[in-house]
């Protein structure tokens, strides 16, 4: 029979423990409340977006539960590895379950899964291509995945860069991806390389990996990655996407030493010279559909899994080099093109190669210079430009220079963004003449020389000729507006200098910063 005294003592101890625990919780709650009040005083208004996880108030519950799930998983994995028993099975117990659906496929099997587990894959660029590629490779159980990126997460990335989240805006892309990938599969070793890949760091970064994925977005990085892969004998899976199109190539496969003509072509064999910088369009300027770049990233993961799981026997045929073209609005959407083999005079992979590891590490190869660079242009004189602030004053009817008042309807404001962008929001009273129309307009005199006169060829310009009001030109960022001003003068719209034509410095981006903070930022 249980002693009543002992029983009561136990109850008291239990109650005291609970009390201590409650005191602890109270202290914590008070501390959190104080912090909260402090922050509330500092931050007058908070986001009303329900998806905006404000980390100031603690970790959101769904995030916490994921962290716990991962921790628990790791501790059980730890417990299992504490027993130094002779391993009975080549994979861990949980791995059979996790990878079961791919393990039972003849294309993978136990052999393939072990190859994946021992593989080290580097993903350069953790954006629209890198996110889906990393998700599938980590999901499939690639043993080590390295991630290279120097950028931080921005809100405009989230429609396509599926590893990042609203709560992690401003976190580095590499750290954000590691949070998501760890919760997806804690078995995979993730190696962060936070920072932009440079010629000086490329060899050191690549050397410990078996295979490289180029998920970057500039020609300069594409040449650097390809050259480094050739020098180190690594296969390269390269993809790119813009608007509704995507391209995919497996390069340097087989990865034979430079000079061996049986090796697969490199990026330089296919594109010996970089494109003129003005022909290169970024996703920020051209736009990109999330699933389009997603498809390309997923295909990179697929090609990686195919290469890593193929049997090592020499009889395994290597696919001839090809370029896969994806076009979301064409039928068929996919098309495969046969590519050339290694180029006899390739600067990277031929016997005449001029690109060497020492040239790379010494920094004597300037990839940015090689590819050229279009920075912000400065095509107009200061007299042809006006700041957004002064333009706002002018619109209100006050001349910013003389202070005199005049009629509000004293000028023409032309917005040169494409129609879709103009529809997203525009300054009251502005007229939309897309840059594509301005740029392709040929002066009538020149045009009629070798073409029949076509009505409307110069429609917009003819209309502007009917007025003598000064013309102000605005665009998204302040480059196209300058080119447009030059073009208008070329077309004689300034009546030989009698009429003012100028642009608004910095475009609508500057307008938003210094005049109208509510103007849509897209």
């Amino acid at each position: 029979m249980v002693n009543a005294v002992d029983l009561l003592r136990q109850q008291i101890i239990a109650c005291e423990t609970t009390l201590r625990d409650l005191h602890g919780q109270l202290a914590e709650a008070e501390r959190v409340q104080q912090e909260r009040e402090k922050i509330l005083r500092q931050k007058p208004f908070l986001s009303h977006d329900p998806l905006d996880h404000d980390m100031n108030f603690g970790i959101p519950d769904d995030f916490r539960s994921e962290v716990f799930a991962v921790l628990e998983h790791e501790s059980s994995a730890q417990a299992a590895s504490d027993i130094p028993a002779k391993k009975k099975w080549p994979l861990e117990k949980n791995e059979y379950t996790r990878y079961g659906r791919q393990l039972i496929m003849p294309e993978v099997g136990l052999h393939g899964q072990l190859s994946l587990k021992h593989a080290r894959v580097l993903i350069v660029g953790v954006g629209g291509l890198g996110c889906p590629a990393a998700a599938y490779l980590v999901g499939a159980g690639v043993g080590t995945v390295g991630l290279v990126d120097g950028d931080t997460v921005e809100e405009s990335n989230l429609h396509r860069q599926i590893l990042h989240s609203t709560a992690r805006v401003e976190m580095t892309k590499v750290e954000s991806a590691i949070v998501a990938l760890t919760s997806l599969n804690p078995n995979v070793k993730l190696v962060p390389h936070i920072g932009r890949l440079t010629p000086e760091t490329a060899i050191a970064t690549f050397k410990d990996y078996n295979l490289i994925l180029d998920c970057t977005d500039t020609p300069a990085s594409r040449y650097l990655i390809s050259d480094t892969c050739v020098m180190l004998g690594k296969r390269l899976i390269s993809a790119s996407a813009l608007r509704i199109d995507g391209q995919l190539m497996v390069l340097n496969n087989p990865p034979l030493p430079p000079g061996d003509t049986n090796g697969g072509p490199c990026y330089r064999c296919v594109f010996p010279k970089p494109p003129p910088p003005e022909s290169v369009v970024s996703c920020g300027d051209g736009g990109i559909l999330g699933p389009v770049v997603g498809v390309m990233g997923v295909l990179q993961a697929l090609e990686t899994i195919k290469l890593l799981t193929q049997p090592q026997s020499s009889s395994a045929a290597i696919d001839p080099p090809s370029l896969l073209i994806f076009s979301a609005y064409s039928n068929p959407m996919f098309r495969s093109i046969r590519l050339r083999s290694r180029k006899a005079k390739c600067a990277a992979c031929s016997t005449q190669a001029t690109i060497s590891p020492s040239a790379l590490t010494s920094g004597s190869l300037n990839y940015v210079q090689f590819c050229g660079n279009v920075g912000p242009i400065n095509a107009l004189t200061p007299q042809e430009r006006i700041s957004p602030k002064n333009f706002a004053k002018l619109r209100s009817g006050v001349n910013p220079f003389t202070g005199t008042r005049s009629s509000k309807d004293n000028h023409i404001l032309i917005d040169t963004r494409e129609e879709v962008q103009f529809e997203l929001g525009s300054i009251d009273g502005s007229v939309n003449i897309p840059f594509s129309a301005i740029e392709t307009t040929v002066p009538i005199s020149e045009y009629s020389k070798d073409h029949d006169m076509e009505a409307g060829q110069e429609g917009w310009a003819a209309q502007l000729r009917q007025s003598e009001k000064p013309i102000f030109v605005i665009c998204r960022r302040g480059n196209d507006s300058q080119m447009s001003v030059q073009k208008m003068k070329q077309l004689g719209l300034d009546f030989g200098g009698k009429r003012f034509i100028g642009d608004i410095r910095g475009g609508l981006e500057a307008w938003r910063k210094s005049v109208d903070a509510e103007f849509p930022d897209y």
Partner: protein, 107 residues
């Protein structure tokens, strides 16, 4: 104005190049069988023909540079890189499918 000596071919633009050609991706074209000097029409002549007769955009430098297709454009003859077919010396055949693909860099 079809001529018996014209060669019917299909031209296709991809990767954004269609913007230079009136936003039209595919063209069925009758290419004169002989070039300016009377030699059989090759791809170099086709590129000149496209530039002079088909291209709507005045920015020729976005398609042609130094008398050949600018860097960053792949020319594919019947689904193969033109380097496999003799580059711009390749003589255009009836019903050829010639594609111009601009490289993309976004990611």
């Amino acid at each position: 104005m079809s001529n018996e000596d014209d060669v019917p071919i299909t031209i296709e633009f991809s990767g954004g190049l269609e913007i230079l050609f009136g936003d039209q991706k595919k063209y069925s074209l009758l290419l004169p069988a002989k070039d300016e000097s009377g030699a059989p029409a090759n791809v170099a002549f086709l590129v000149r023909h496209l530039c002079d007769k088909v291209m709507k955009d005045p920015r020729k430098e976005l398609f042609v540079l130094d008398d050949t297709v600018r860097p960053g454009i792949l020319v594919l003859i019947n689904e193969a890189d033109w380097e496999l077919e003799g580059e711009d010396k390749y003589e255009v055949q009836k019903d050829d499918h010639i594609m111009f693909v601009s490289t993309l860099h976004g990611g």
